[in-house]
Amino acid sequence: MPDIELRGVNKIFKGKVIAMEDVNLKIKHGEYVFLLGPSGCGKTTTLRVISGLEQPDNGEVLIDNKDVKDLLPEDRGMGFVFQHFEIFPFMTVWENCIYGLKVRGFSDEVLIEHGERALKTVGLLDYADEYPTVFGNPGLQRLGIARAIATGAKILVMDEPLGSLDPKARLSFRHELRDLVKRLGLTAIQVTHDQDEALAIGDQIIVMRQGRILQYGPPEELYERPTSLFVANFIGEMNFLEGFIYPNVLGNNYLVRLEIRGPKLYASKDHAIFPDFAVDQRVVIAFRFEDVYVYPQNFDFNKPGHERMEEELNFIPANLYSMRFVGKTTRFIAKFASGEMIQATKPGTFPYQLSPGDPIILGIHPHDIITFEHPKDLAYEIDLS
C-alpha cells in the first residue's frame, strides 16, 4: 500500500501565476487527507500534479517511493472524482461504472464482479440499466464514486466532490463518503475550500495559501494550535484583538493589555506561538467564538455550575449588538465603545433575555487564548482570500 510524497515541487502558470511553491508533503496510505485553502491557493493544482493531470516544473512526485512523474494518470492506480461529476450522459449507469475496466481490456467476469460490487457499495445496483438522467446531483456523484472505485484503485483523488450539491446534501453525503473510504481501506485526497468539511471528515488537513503550505496536521491540531494567523482565522471562527505584553505575569500566563480601551487579559503561555514575548511587545490575541462566555451585566456567579468562573475567566465588559438564533447555536455580536466587534456562539438557545444595546460581560478562559506576534499587515494575514 503506497505512500504518496511530493518533494520540492514548483509550478508556475503563464510565467507569473505561482500555483505551487516549494511544496513538500507526505500522505500515508489509508489516510483521509484534505487540501484546504481559499480560491487560487494552489490546492487544485497540487491535486492535479499528484494525479498526473499536470506536470510540475520541478521537484519529485513519488508513489511508494518511486518517481512517477512520467507515469500517465491512468497508470498511477488512482480513482478520480470530479466536482461536476463528469458522468457520460450517453451511457447507462452500468456502462459508466465499468468504463475504467473496459478500456483497460479486462474480461467479462472481472467487469461483472467489480462493477456490481462498486454499484452495491454506493447503493445504486438497482439502477444499473437506467440512464444517469434519472438521478439528481447526489446520485450522479455516487455514480462518479462507483466508477472511480470499480477499477480497484486504492487512492481516491477528489476535486471538491461535494461542491455541486445542495448544502443539506453536502452535510449528509460527507459522512457517507468518509464511511465508504474507511470501509474500503482507501487513501483519500480531497480538495475543498470549506474548512467545516475538512474538520468533519479529514484525518489530516493541509492548509495552503498562494502556492505554499502553511500548516499540516490532524484537525484538532490545526484547530487548537494554529501556527499562523491565517490558519487560525481560516479554520473555525476566530476573534482577534490587538494588544501588548504587560509586565506582570501570573503563573503560567501572560498579561496582555488590549488596545481597545485597555482591559487586560491573561493569556496562557502554553498557547502562545512564541513562549518568550518581551514586555511591551505588540501582539495579537485570538480566541474562538465558541469559547466566549456571555453573561448579562449583573449576573450572579454564585449560581450552581458557574462557581469557578469568576476565578478562572477573564472578563471584558461590552454592549450587545445582536443576538441571533441559528438553530444549532445562538450567535452573539458584542460591540465595544471603540467600535470593534467580538462574536460568540453558544449551543442551543440562550437562557437569558437580552436586547441589542444591553450591557453584557464576555468571559474568556486564558487557555482558550492564543497569542501571536503582531504582523506588519494584520488585515492581510486574516484576509480569507
Partner: protein
C-alpha cells in the same frame, strides 16, 4: 419612493417544462423585513424572485404592493434593486460606470451622480477601485459592486432582491458576509425590505427575520427561525435544518398532550406537545435533532430522566465546535450525535465505552410515518 411597501403574493402560478415552476404560492412580506426564500435547486425560488422583480410574468396570480396590483408593472416601475446570481456586472464598464448606471440612464445631473456613486462605493468598502473593470476584481469585491449598483438604483430605500448572493464565494468569506449583509440591511442609513434567496439553511437562519421554505414550487412553511427550527411542520422541514435521528414507531398511549411511542421491544419514548395529533396505534416517526442528546458515562435512572437509550461508542470525530459520536444502540440502529466539544469530552467517551443517552420529550418531533420508501428517499438522496 421613500417608503417601502408591504408585498403580497397571491396564488402565483408559473409552469415550466421541467423544474423551477410555481404551484399556487401565496406570501406576505412586511415592509422593512429581511425575508428569505429557502429551498433546494430547482424548487422555484429563483422563478419567484424574477416574478417579484417583473422579469417574468406569472401564468396566474397577483402581486400587490400595499394593496395595489403591480403585476403588470415593469421592473423599473417597482423601485427595487436586484443582485443576480453571478452578479451580472457589465463587463465592458468600470466599477464607477456600473454603480452609477441607473442614474446615468435616467439622465440625472452628472456631478450629483458622481458624488452619490462615491458614497455608495464607500458604503460597500470599495476604495480607489473606480476605474477597475469587473474581470480585475475578486469575487467578494464583484459582489459588493453588484450590491452597490442595486442600492444606488433604489437610492437607498426600497426592495432589495438577492439571488443566491454568496453562492460563488468561498465558505469562509460567506460567513463574514452573512453578518455584514444583515447589518447593512438593518442600518439606519438605508430603508430596505430584503428578499434573499438561498439553498443554505444556516445562511437563512443567520440573516433572516422570517424564512419561507419552498419545495417543488410550493411553500412548505413560513416563520421566524425559532419557529421553523423548534416547530417544523413536517418531516422534510425537520430534516432540512439539521442532521436528525429518527425512530419509526407506533403510538402506545396518549395522556393530555404527552405521547408514548413504542420504537422497539420494550422500548418506549415520551414526546410532549407535538404539532400534529395522533391516535393510539398510529404509525409515526419520532425525530430528534442530533445535537439534542445528552450523554452520560454512567447509567441513568428512569426516575431522573425520560427517554433513555443505551449503547456503545463506535467512533468519535472531532469537528471543531462539536464532536460527532457514532453510537451503536442496544435497540439496533447506529446513530450519529453531536456533542459540544468542551474540555475532556473526548477523553470521557472513548471508543467502546458504554454510554447512556437521553433527550427531552419537549424537544422531540412526531410525524406520521411516510413509509420506508419515503424515508429512504429523504435520507438517502438519489
Amino acid at each position: 419612493m421613500n417608503y417601502i411597501p408591504e408585498i403580497r403574493l397571491e396564488h402565483i402560478v408559473k409552469h415550466y417544462r421541467g423544474e423551477g415552476g410555481l404551484n399556487d404560492v401565496s406570501l406576505t412580506i412586511q415592509d422593512g423585513e429581511y425575508f428569505t426564500l429557502l429551498g433546494n435547486t430547482g424548487g422555484g425560488k429563483t422563478t419567484l424572485l424574477h416574478i417579484i422583480a417583473g422579469l417574468v410574468k406569472p401564468d396566474a396570480g397577483q402581486i400587490l404592493f400595499d394593496g395595489v396590483d403591480i403585476t403588470r408593472k415593469k421592473p423599473y416601475e417597482r423601485n427595487l434593486g436586484l443582485v443576480f446570481e453571478n452578479y451580472a456586472l457589465f463587463p465592458h464598464m468600470s466599477v464607477e460606470e456600473n454603480i452609477s448606471y441607473s442614474h446615468r440612464v435616467k439622465g440625472y445631473d452628472p456631478q450629483e451622480t458622481a458624488q452619490i456613486s462615491r458614497e455608495f462605493q464607500h458604503m460597500m468598502r470599495l476604495y480607489n477601485r473606480e476605474k477597475a473593470i469587473p474581470s480585475e476584481l475578486s469575487g467578494g469585491m464583484q459582489q459588493r459592486v453588484a450590491l452597490g449598483r442595486a442600492l444606488m438604483n433604489m437610492e437607498g430605500s426600497g426592495i432589495l432582491l438577492l439571488d443566491e448572493p454568496f453562492k460563488a464565494l468561498d465558505a469562509g468569506l460567506r460567513m463574514n458576509l452573512r453578518v455584514e449583509i444583515r447589518n447593512l440591511a438593518k442600518s439606519e442609513k438605508l430603508k430596505l425590505t430584503v428578499i434573499h434567496i438561498t439553498n443554505d439553511m444556516t445562511e437563512a437562519m443567520m440573516v433572516s427575520d422570517r424564512i419561507a421554505l419552498i419545495r417543488d414550487g410550493k411553500i412548505v412553511q413560513v416563520g421566524i427561525p425559532e419557529e421553523i427550527y423548534y416547530q417544523p411542520a413536517n418531516l422534510f422541514v425537520a430534516y432540512f435544518f439539521s442532521d436528525t435521528v429518527y425512530f419509526p414507531g407506533v403510538v402506545a398511549a396518549v395522556e393530555d398532550s404527552s405521547y408514548s411511542v413504542v420504537v422497539a421491544k420494550n422500548v418506549a419514548f415520551k414526546v410532549d406537545n407535538p404539532i400534529a395529533k395522533f391516535q393510539r396505534g398510529g404509525a409515526v416517526v419520532l425525530v430528534v435533532r442530533n445535537d439534542y442528546f445528552k450523554i452520560y458515562a454512567e447509567p441513568v435512572s428512569p426516575e431522573d430522566k425520560d427517554n433513555i437509550l443505551t449503547g456503545k461508542i463506535t467512533t468519535a470525530k472531532f469537528m471543531g465546535p462539536f464532536i460527532r459520536f457514532s453510537v451503536s444502540l442496544e435497540i439496533g440502529n447506529i446513530i450519529a450525535i453531536d456533542i459540544p466539544s468542551t474540555y475532556g469530552v473526548r477523553e470521557k467517551f472513548p471508543a467502546g465505552q458504554n454510554v447512556w443517552l437521553t433527550f427531552n420529550p419537549k424537544k422531540a418531533f412526531l410525524f406520521p410515518d411516510p413509509g420506508e420508501e419515503k424515508l429512504k428517499e429523504l435520507y438517502f438522496e438519489i
